[in-house]
């Protein structure tokens, strides 16, 4: 029973809107509670499945009493919250001391507790990583500092005092390793996107701004589809050998406010509709800039796409994020005078680049890939 006001000591459950077995998501309304201020809808705080309802409708229980058990989500205890912020009580004299809000504690079974070292917990908290997504390499499966680090955590130099932020250190470590270990080769290719722009403009014409598909999403999808024929550009080089990935998880490089960037995965990019890719990209961008992304999203990308073109540069040559073996760079869309069928015409073009690992593929393959990408972008209707 959540506290719905500083003066609330108890509440009456009016109605359950879920049943045992219902799956619930963060923000869903699951119950209605009657208070002195009227009926208030109770919102759930986590994803999961309702195990059992602990309080029957019509019952009045003190604040802090568990109302229901929810399993399957994060390990945090169930804590429903009101769907609207509780207003200060309008009833004038408060004669009893305010009851501090209490948490409904549902003790997790010992097996559910994440075993993680203090150092691992501190690092995970600093970068907003969910420890339950990791597996540990320590004694008894405990998650250690290195496990968090390996899942996208920063590389930290204790007491280094070198002024590098955690994010900067992580980028420094990954990029230094990349340039040290990976023999990059670089290709660039100019792609005519006039048709793509026209098609997108038509498709977006009737949509509100929040639902419009941007050219960046179309390019991500086109890269993913093109990679199906180029397994040597999609996968991981580890332990002296290349391991191609059946799945295509394109990592979308997203800059972070205040500096740094991450490239979390859009899982199975090639199998999503263009609208889905756009939705995922929007969600990721929002979450990354809010500092919330999942460990799996950081660890899973099989290839990276960087669209610095949005910042106005003509082209960029990327540095591969190890252990990946390729990174595609997309420059800005620019108007060029192009010769087509003997006449000069204004066309919208984009310069795509590929930086790839020469241990795994050769320039010939890379060139074929860029050609394929160019061709793919001429047919937006199949994206």
């Amino acid at each position: 029973m959540p506290s719905l006001g500083a003066d609330m000591e108890a509440g009456t459950l009016v109605e359950w809107l879920v049943q045992p077995g219902s799956s619930v998501g963060r923000g869903d309304i699951i119950a209605v509670v009657d208070t002195q201020k009227g009926a208030i809808e109770i919102e759930v705080f986590q994803d999961g499945t309702v195990d059992s309802l602990l309080v029957d409708p019509g019952t009045t229980v003190p604040v802090g009493t568990p109302l229901a058990m929810i399993s399957g989500g994060a390990d945090a205890p169930v804590q429903p919250v009101p769907s609207e912020p509780a207003e200060p009580a309008s009833v004038p004299p408060v004669t009893v001391p305010p009851v501090p809000p209490k948490r409904a504690i549902v003790a997790p079974s010992p097996g559910d507790r994440v075993r993680a070292s203090p150092a691992a917990r501190k690092l995970a908290a600093a970068i907003g990583l969910d420890l339950s997504t990791l597996s540990g390499s320590g004694a008894g499966g405990a998650i250690l500092y290195a496990d968090v680090e390996g899942a996208g955590g920063k590389e930290r130099q204790p007491a280094a005092g070198d002024g590098l932020t955690a994010m900067r250190s992580a980028i420094a470590a990954a990029m230094a390793r990349s340039k040290r270990e990976i023999p990059h080769y670089y290709l660039q290719y100019e792609i005519d996107v006039t048709g793509l722009q026209d098609w997108l403009a038509a498709a977006n014409a009737d949509r509100p701004p929040a639902e419009r598909v941007l050219i960046g999403a179309a390019c991500l999808k086109a890269v993913a589809l093109s990679l199906r024929k180029f397994p040597d550009l999609n996968g991981f080089f580890e332990d002296g050998g290349f391991r191609p990935s059946d799945a295509i998880h394109v990592g979308a490089a997203i800059s972070i406010r205040g500096g740094g960037l991450v490239a979390p995965a859009i899982h199975n990019t090639d199998q999503l509709s263009l609208d889905e890719v756009m939705a995922k990209l929007r969600d990721l961008t929002k979450r990354v800039r809010g500092g919330r992304f999942r460990g799996s999203e950081l660890a899973d990308p099989t290839v990276t796409v960087s669209s610095l073109g949005e910042r106005g540069v003509d082209l960029l040559f990327g540095v591969i994020y190890p252990p990946q073996v390729a990174i595609v760079g997309l420059g800005s869309v620019t108007e060029r005078a192009c010769v087509i069928d003997g006449t000069v015409r204004p066309r919208a073009v984009i310069t795509a680049t590929l930086a790839a690992d020469h241990r795994v593929s050769d320039g010939h393959r890379g060139a074929l890939f860029l050609r394929k990408l160019g061709e793919q972008l001429q047919h937006p209707e199949v994206l």
Binding site: P118, A119, G140, L144
Partner: protein, 340 residues
């Protein structure tokens, strides 16, 4: 004050015993107020032969044999120090020092406080500690951790010939009581000592071996077993850092915590009994100060909680050995067994 490290100076092999003797000789020559007193230090030359020859060199006034009365002569040394001279009191073993504990705790450690700062006790008390010479349960214990419990005194545990040579003079210059614990297994150990070796600092722990995977914290006689364990661990791909505490009171928290924060793991090797040990104190400080840097529970290798046995195999089995240090380190790293 730091260790004198003159690479141009000649260095020579010397035993720990002779390094202590050189320290005493040097102090006697530098300051006429310094004298040595204790059981059998004169005609017999010291029960571990540390003071052999000093009676001839400095005479009976400054190398004084005492009756078998630890409380009496330690008290005399404390009084002499208060009166302005600089006694070095030698107690034969830490077990016998318990007879003088009243003098050490109730007088030496408290006089500055009790007199409102009017008197200090600049005495140095040396004693042998530790097992390994088959001297059985009344001559073999390691009780320096007990003494490290007492405010008002400093506790030193030189493990190297450089510290055996250099700590005494710094201790004599200290205005308050300093106890020096010499592990009996170190007297015959040799090491390289610069010809111009002199006084060393007594307020810093030393990194005897740098490493990145785990910090092994130890002192005195256990230092060499710990270094041997670190060598063996290196062969198995584990890079251990070895911290020699050198001074057991006050502990150099800064060096300990910097090392543990770097390696994220610590194992403490302490020849004292485990319960209420110095290792327990260091463990607590680590948890208090660098808990959020830890990647594993702190490990300890201490003596078995028995009176030190007389038979050689049981005596060796009762105190920390390299095998146990290796095993405890692997346990901490999660490379052997389960951490539960």
């Amino acid at each position: 004050m730091t260790t004198v490290q003159n690479t141009l100076a000649e260095s020579a092999e010397i035993t720990y015993r002779d390094a202590v003797k050189e320290a005493i000789r040097d102090a006697m020559k530098r300051d006429p107020r310094v004298f040595l007193m204790g059981e059998d230090v004169g005609r017999y030359g010291g029960c571990y032969a540390v003071s052999k020859g000093l009676l001839d060199e400095f005479g009976a006034d400054r190398i004084r044999d005492t009756p078998l009365s630890e409380s009496g002569f330690t008290g005399a040394g404390i009084g002499a120090a208060m009166a302005g001279v600089r006694p070095i009191v030698e107690l034969m073993t830490v077990n016998f020092s318990l007879l003088a504990l009243d003098q050490i705790l109730n007088n030496a450690a408290t006089i500055r406080h009790m007199s409102g700062g009017q008197f200090g006790v600049p005495v140095v008390i040396r004693m042998a500690t530790g097992a390994g010479r088959q001297l059985a349960a009344q001559h073999s214990h390691s009780l320096e951790g007990w003494y490290a419990h007492i405010p008002g005194i400093k506790i030193l545990a030189p493990a190297t010939v450089e510290d055996a040579r250099g700590m005494l003079w710094t201790a004599l210059e200290d205005p308050d009581p300093v106890l020096i614990f010499e592990n009996v297994m170190l007297y015959n150990r040799t090491g390289s000592l610069a010809a111009d070796a002199g006084a060393v600092a007594i307020d810093k722990a030393a990194i005897r071996r740098p490493g990145s995977d785990v910090t092994l914290i130890t002192y005195g006689g256990s230092l060499w077993k710990t270094l041997e364990a670190a060598d063996r661990l290196k062969g198995e791909g584990i890079d251990a850092e070895v911290v020699d505490l050198r001074t057991l009171r006050p502990l150099d928290d800064a060096t300990i915590m910097a090392s543990v924060a770097k390696t994220r793991r610590a194992v403490i090797v302490d020849e004292g009994w485990r319960s209420g040990s110095l290792a327990a104190e260091i463990t607590t400080r680590i948890v208090e100060q660098v808990f959020w840097e830890l990647d594993a529970p702190v490990g300890r290798v201490c003596s078995e909680e028995v009176p030190i046995p007389y038979p050689a195999h049981l005596e060796q089995a009762s105190i920390p050995q390299a095998d146990q240090i290796v095993a405890a380190t692997k346990q901490t790293l999660g490379t052997m067994g389960s951490g539960g």
